[in-house]
C-alpha cells in the first residue's frame, strides 16, 4: 500500500528516516509512506540532529522531458484529426492545470478528466467532455473509442477507464506522459512515451506547439478539428447525462440532490465522496471548476472514506466549504469520526444518499446476477441517521421530498459551528447510467433506458 516504508532499529536513525520519509512521500509520484517505530525505539533516548541532505542513491525523481519525445508527440498532435487529451490525477499532483489549459487553448483538443482528475480542467469549458470510463459520459467514452490520437497526461489506463483493453481506443495512436516509468506501457504500449514531470512535460508540449505554428501558420488551425467537434457536439446533444425527474413519493432523486448541492454552494466548495453509486453521481453531476476541490479514494475503492477525508479537507482548507456526499453503507463505516468533528469544531457537512442498500452492489446484482440480491439490504430507519447525527453533536436533517432538498441544503450551509448531516431518502431502484459492464468493450456503453428510446 505504501510507496516506501522504514523499520527503525536504532533511535539514532530517526531524524534521517523522518527526513527521507517526507522526501519520498512528496516528490516524484507522491504517495503514502510508513515508518514503523518499535516500542523500545520509541522509548529510547537520543540526541536530535538533522542531516543536511537526503542520501537515497536509488531514488530518482524525473524532471524535464526528452526533447526528442516532445518533438515526436507534437507531430502526432499536429497531424491528428480526432485527438483526445486523456487527463488523469497526475496533472493535479504535478500542479499542471495551468499548463493544461494553455495546451487546450493552443490546440483546441477535447479533454476528458478521469475520476482522479475531476477539477483538473473546468467542466464549464466547452472543451471538457466530462469523465471517461465505466460510468463516464457517453461523449467522453465514445470520443476515446473513435479517437485517432490519445494523449494520456498523468493517467494510467485503469481498467475502469479502458473497459476491455483489447477493444479500447482501437484507432488511436498513444502519447503517454507520466512521471512513473512503470506506468508507461504497462497496459497500452504508447507510440510516444514521455517519462517526465507532468507540468514540465505539458509546458514543453505547449512550447513545441507554438513553435510549430510559427513555422507554419496553418498548423494547429481550429478548422482541422471542425468535423471532430461537430461529431462530439452531436453526441453531447444526443446523449447527455440523464435521469428521470419524476420519482416515487417519499424519495428524492440522487442526481437532483447533487445538482442542488452544486448550485447552492460556493464555486470553490470541496466535495468529498465515499465509494459506490453516490460517488459516481457526485463525479458526474457536480460541476468541477477548480483543481483540488474533489477528494475521493479512486482506485483504492475505500468505503467509509468520505467522513474522515472531509475532516482532513476542512482542517487543511478552513476557509472553504466542505461537503461530503456519502452512501448509507459508507456512512455506517466511519460516522463516528463526526464525534471528533464536533469536539474539535470542524464544521463539515455530510449528505447521505440513503437508499437503504449497498447500492452499487445491488445495481450489479440487478443487472448481471438476475436480481439475486444478497447481503446488500440495509435499513432506511435503523440506524436513525438524524438521531445518530444529533447524538454526535451534529445538526441532523431528514429529506424525503424534492421541495425539501434546497431548504435543507441552505439550512446546512448556514451552520458554521458544528457538523451537519442530511439524510436524503432515495429510491433503491435508481441506477447509475451510463454504464459499461465490467470486462465489456467501451463500444457497448449502456445509456439510461429512457434516453436510448429517444
Amino acid at each position: 500500500m505504501t510507496k516506501h516504508n522504514w523499520l527503525v532499529t536504532d533511535a539514532e536513525d530517526i531524524p534521517r528516516i523522518v527526513q527521507e520519509a517526507f522526501y519520498v512521500a512528496t516528490t516524484g509520484r507522491p504517495g503514502p509512506v510508513l515508518i514503523d517505530f518499535p516500542k523500545d525505539i520509541a522509548n529510547a533516548q537520543m540526541t536530535w540532529h538533522f542531516d543536511d541532505e537526503v542520501d537515497l542513491p536509488g531514488y530518482k525523481v524525473l524532471g524535464a522531458p526528452d526533447p526528442a519525445a516532445i518533438k515526436a508527440a507534437v507531430e502526432l498532435l499536429r497531424d491528428a484529426r480526432r485527438p483526445v487529451l486523456y487527463v488523469g490525477g497526475g496533472v493535479l499532483k504535478a500542479d499542471a492545470t495551468t499548463a493544461l489549459r494553455q495546451l487546450v487553448e493552443e490546440t483546441n483538443i477535447p479533454v476528458v478528466t478521469t475520476l482522479m482528475a475531476r477539477g483538473a480542467f473546468p467542466d464549464s469549458d466547452s472543451h471538457c467532455l466530462g469523465m471517461p470510463g465505466m460510468h463516464g459520459t457517453y461523449t467522453a467514452v465514445t470520443a476515446m473509442q473513435r479517437a485517432d490520437l490519445l494523449v494520456a497526461l498523468g493517467s494510467r489506463f485503469d481498467d475502469r477507464v479502458t473497459g476491455k483493453v483489447s477493444a479500447f481506443a482501437p484507432f488511436a495512436k498513444v502519447v503517454h506522459l507520466d512521471i512513473d516509468k512503470a506506468e508507461i506501457g504497462k497496459v497500452r504500449r504508447p507510440d510516444v512515451p514521455i517519462a517526465a514531470d507532468c507540468r514540465l512535460g505539458i509546458e514543453a508540449l505547449v512550447a513545441a506547439v507554438v513553435e510549430q505554428r510559427q513555422r507554419n501558420a496553418s498548423f494547429f488551425s481550429r478548422e482541422r478539428l471542425s468535423e471532430w467537434w461537430a461529431e462530439l457536439d452531436s453526441w453531447r446533444e444526443q446523449f447527455p447525462l440523464f435521469y428521470e425527474e419524476e420519482g416515487e413519493p417519499g424519495f428524492v432523486k440522487p442526481q437532483y440532490v447533487i445538482e442542488q448541492l452544486r448550485d447552492a454552494t460556493p464555486d470553490d466548495t470541496i466535495l468529498v465522496a465515499g465509494v459506490g453509486q453516490h460517488q459516481m453521481w457526485a463525479a458526474q453531476h457536480w460541476r468541477f471548476e477548480h483543481p483540488r476541490t474533489w477528494v475521493n479514494s479512486g482506485g483504492l475503492g475505500t468505503m467509509g472514506f468520505a467522513v474522515p477525508a472531509a475532516l482532513g479537507a476542512k482542517v487543511g482548507r478552513p476557509e472553504q466549504m466542505v461537503w461530503a456526499v456519502d452512501g448509507d453503507g459508507c456512512f455506517q463505516m466511519t460516522a463516528q469520526e463526526l464525534i471528533t468533528a464536533t469536539v474539535e469544531r470542524i464544521p463539515v457537512k455530510i449528505a447521505i444518499l440513503n437508499n437503504s442498500y449497498l447500492g452499487m452492489v445491488r445495481q450489479w446484482q440487478h443487472m448481471f446476477y438476475e436480481e439475486r440480491y444478497s447481503e446488500v439490504y440495509l435499513s432506511p430507519d435503523v440506524p436513525n441517521y438524524v438521531g445518530w447525527a444529533e447524538s454526535m453533536g451534529c445538526v441532523g436533517i431528514r429529506v424525503s421530498a424534492p421541495e425539501e432538498v434546497r431548504p435543507a441544503i441552505e439550512k446546512a450551509n448556514a451552520v458554521d459551528d458544528r457538523p451537519v448531516v442530511i439524510d436524503f431518502r432515495i429510491d433503491a431502484k435508481e441506477h447509475v447510467f451510463p454504464m459499461v459492464a465490467a470486462g465489456a468493450s467501451n463500444d457497448d456503453i449502456v445509456v439510461h433506458p429512457k434516453l436510448a428510446q429517444r
Binding site: K3, H4, L7, T9, V24, L56, P57, G58, Y59, K60, D180, K181, A182, I184, G185, K186
Partner: protein, 160 residues
C-alpha cells in the same frame, strides 16, 4: 553457450541494508514474475550489494520487470545483461554415492569437476561453470546416485 529456456538476466546494485532482498522478492511475488535464480553478496563498496537475478521471460515482460525494480527506493542501478554474450558462472556442490568405480571419477573429471571431500560411502564434488554445464554435470552424475545438491545461482559480469 545458449540457454535452454528464455529468461532475462539482471545485475542490480542495491543498498546494502536489511530488508532489501525481501522488497525485491516481494515485488516479484506480487507481480507474478518467476525468479529462476538469485544470488546476493556485498560488493567492494560496503554501502552496496550486487544482486544477480534470472527471471523467467514468459512470466514477465522485460520493461515491466526493469521499471518496477527501478521504482524500489533501495535499488540503485539495474543492468540488463544479454544472456548470449555475458560471462555467466554458477557454483554447484554435489554429494554423490561413492562406488569407488573408475567411471565416477572419469565423469567428474570429464566435466571439469573436482572432488573436495571423500568418505567410504560418498564423495563431495564441486563444479563452477555455466549453468547449462552444471545441468549436464548433474544429469551425468544422476546414475551414480545424488545424495545432496546445492547451487549458488548464477552471477554474471560484462566488461565495462
Amino acid at each position: 553457450m545458449t540457454d535452454t529456456y528464455p529468461h532475462h538476466l539482471f545485475s542490480l546494485r542495491v543498498e546494502n541494508k536489511s530488508g532489501v532482498l525481501v522488497r525485491v522478492a516481494g515485488l516479484f511475488a506480487r507481480r507474478g514474475f518467476n525468479i529462476v535464480s538469485l544470488a546476493v553478496a556485498p560488493t567492494d563498496d560496503e554501502r552496496f550489494s550486487r544482486m544477480s537475478l534470472v527471471v523467467d521471460a514468459e512470466s514477465a515482460p522485460l520493461h515491466q520487470v526493469r521499471d518496477q525494480l527501478d521504482k524500489l527506493v533501495n535499488v540503485v542501478e539495474i543492468t540488463e545483461i544479454e544472456p548470449s554474450t555475458a560471462y555467466q558462472v554458477e557454483l554447484a556442490l554435489l554429494s554423490v554415492k561413492n562406488d569407488s568405480s573408475r567411471s565416477l571419477f572419469d565423469v567428474i573429471s570429464a566435466h571439469g569437476g573436482a572432488v573436495v571431500d571423500e568418505c567410504p560411502s560418498s564423495v563431495v564434488v564441486k563444479l563452477d561453470a555455466h549453468p547449462n554445464e552444471i545441468d549436464a554435470f548433474i544429469r551425468a552424475l544422476e546414475p551414480f546416485g545424488i545424495i545432496d545438491l546445492q547451487r549458488t545461482g548464477r552471477i554474471t559480469m560484462t566488461p565495462s
